[in-house]
Amino acid sequence: MEAVDTETERVKVGGAQAKRRKGPPRTRLVSWLGVLPFFLFSAAFLIGPAVILFYRSLEDPEGGFTLQFWGQLTSDTVMRAYGMSVRLSLTTALVGGVFGFLLAWAVSLGALPRAVRSALTTFSGVASNFAGVPLAAAFIFTLGRVGVITAVFELLGVDLYRSGFSLYSFWGLVLVYLYFQFPLMVLVMLPGLDGLRREWREAAENLGATPRQYWRKVALPVLMPSILGTMILLFGNAFGAHATAYALTGGLLPLATLLIGQQISGDVLNNPGLGYAVAVGMVMIMAIAIGIYTVLQRRSERWLG
């Protein structure tokens, strides 16, 4: 049996945490070893290809070094594509985040039968990856010009498309993207919501707090790091999506991922250097997004002490 670890101070349960001294060198070594598999694996499967991506964005067709592709990143076309991608990702992350959160709340704290939660969980698992052509097709079947719901509206005397609605627009794409954003929010927030102790709610009520006060002062602050983290996930998820946008809007809306696809996957253009440069730009945007998220998250954690 291991001797009691004398480096740590005993901590009172439920009380404020006392300041910890740094662990002994052995503990830190163990921690670093603990994350080593992650870094090795990431190097092998993610960072390796990312480095190749970076390298090839600086390579011209003859194999020499060039900055021309990076220079093209500030062109109108590319900037518009980045802007649209960020706009789309933010919108779906926010809307997806809010309603996804409500759904997760409903099945965890809403006193609904367990079966509803299981059904939503497993359904969310499938729906989270229901994207691309099948998803676009499903929405075309529903809300396209010859869609079933469009027809229902016509029966009711409303011509959807003539009154300005179009599935093939920014908001149409948002509507479709939400199909995999909601489930993602639900699945990833459920563990966090489960962590809200019933006792906190009861304690708050005993202190005279209304439900709104409880949520504003206790629950949401506790959950905020998780919520932020999940929303950055939703942002990234939408940012990197490609197949759904192509199937639904055929390239009418400029998006960064479509731009990349045009250069490296298409039958018309073949300027891989530019494609890779745009991808490197996406990596940088993602890094900025993570930076903003980290700042917000550290501030939200401060509340928790």
């Binding site: 994350v35 006193a111 497993t122 499903a138 939400l178 005993n206 998780s226 950055i232």
Partner: protein, 279 residues
């Protein structure tokens, strides 16, 4: 844990007479209903179109054609096997990583989170060709045979699952008091391995289930990486069957949806809590 009963302040709001639970529940049902309509409507219309394969009648011809292909079962089982392997690899890597970042190495958090979000910004095509360039030549030749390429595929899938697995596990860790639990376990004499195995993993059940389900879905439907690694998994099978068709894609989408849902139900069932977890 006992509830502290501090005296109610004079003048404080008196809680409403009706139990808040009932209003909550109604609201919850409304939300779930709205969600159900949004999610099921596109599936219903897809189903409607899938039944129209034969002119002027509603029937299951499209489904018959989908199931008639012998490669269906083969490719599906192959994908399921890949999925399970990817989930296990991902779990084993992500859980310790999230644990140590939360507990000991908080400065590393942005770096780790950035890496876990890389799959979103590296297009699948770039990823697979990057992997081929690295592992498609000596000395790291992994693409020589179908089976060795499969290892590459599973590795890539585990990497693709990182964003989802990490975020789920991170949320799960935040929901449990990691520090306290660790210290309690340590003062009982547990070493790191035991802590991870007996304290952390069991308390992460919900988070791990979420991560596993998300990974499973990704692997089953994944297309680009499998195609260029010349693997005969379910994604390429579906794409092949439904290319340039009108009714079969609708049938295929629903069949894939249903099968994946069933598989997930099975996973959720097999990993359900054995005892009631008391707090």
């Amino acid at each position: 844990m006992t509830i502290s009963t501090a005296p109610v302040q004079v003048g404080a709001e008196i809680p409403p007479a009706e139990p808040p639970g009932k209003r909550n529940r109604l609201f919850a049902w409304l939300i779930v209903l709205a969600g159900a309509v949004y999610f099921l409507l596109p599936l219903v219309t897809t189903g409607y179109w899938s039944l129209r394969a034969v002119k002027d009648t509603l029937g299951f011809e499209a489904y018959r054609r989908v199931f008639a292909d012998p490669a269906f079962v083969e490719s599906f089982t192959e994908s399921v096997a890949n999925a399970i392997a990817a989930i296990i690899v991902s779990l084993l890597i992500i859980v310790p990583t999230a644990y140590w970042v939360t507990l000991r190495l908080p400065r590393l958090r942005p770096v780790v989170e950035f890496i876990t979000l890389l799959p979103f910004v590296i297009p699948a095509v770039v990823l697979v060709f990057g992997l081929i360039r690295i592992y498609g030549r000596p000395p790291l030749l992994l693409t020589r045979t179908y089976e060795s390429s499969r290892i590459l595929l599973v590795g890539a899938y585990a990497a693709l699952s990182f964003p989802y697995m990490y975020r789920s596990v991170d949320n799960g860790l935040r929901a449990m008091d990691v520090r306290t639990l660790t210290e309690a376990a340590q003062s009982l004499g547990a070493n790191w391995a035991t802590i991870l195995r007996k304290v952390i993993f069991p308390n992460l059940r919900v988070a791990l289930l979420s991560g596993a389900l998300l990974t499973f879905a990704i692997v089953i439907g994944e297309l680009t990486v499998a195609l260029f690694l010349a693997q005969h998994t379910f994604g390429p099978f579906m794409a092949n069957l439904t290319r340039s068709k009108v009714y079969e894609p609708a049938a295929m989408a629903l069949v894939a949806f249903g099968l994946t849902w069933a598989a997930m139900g099975l996973i959720a069932f097999l990993t359900r809590p054995r005892r009631k977890v008391t707090r």
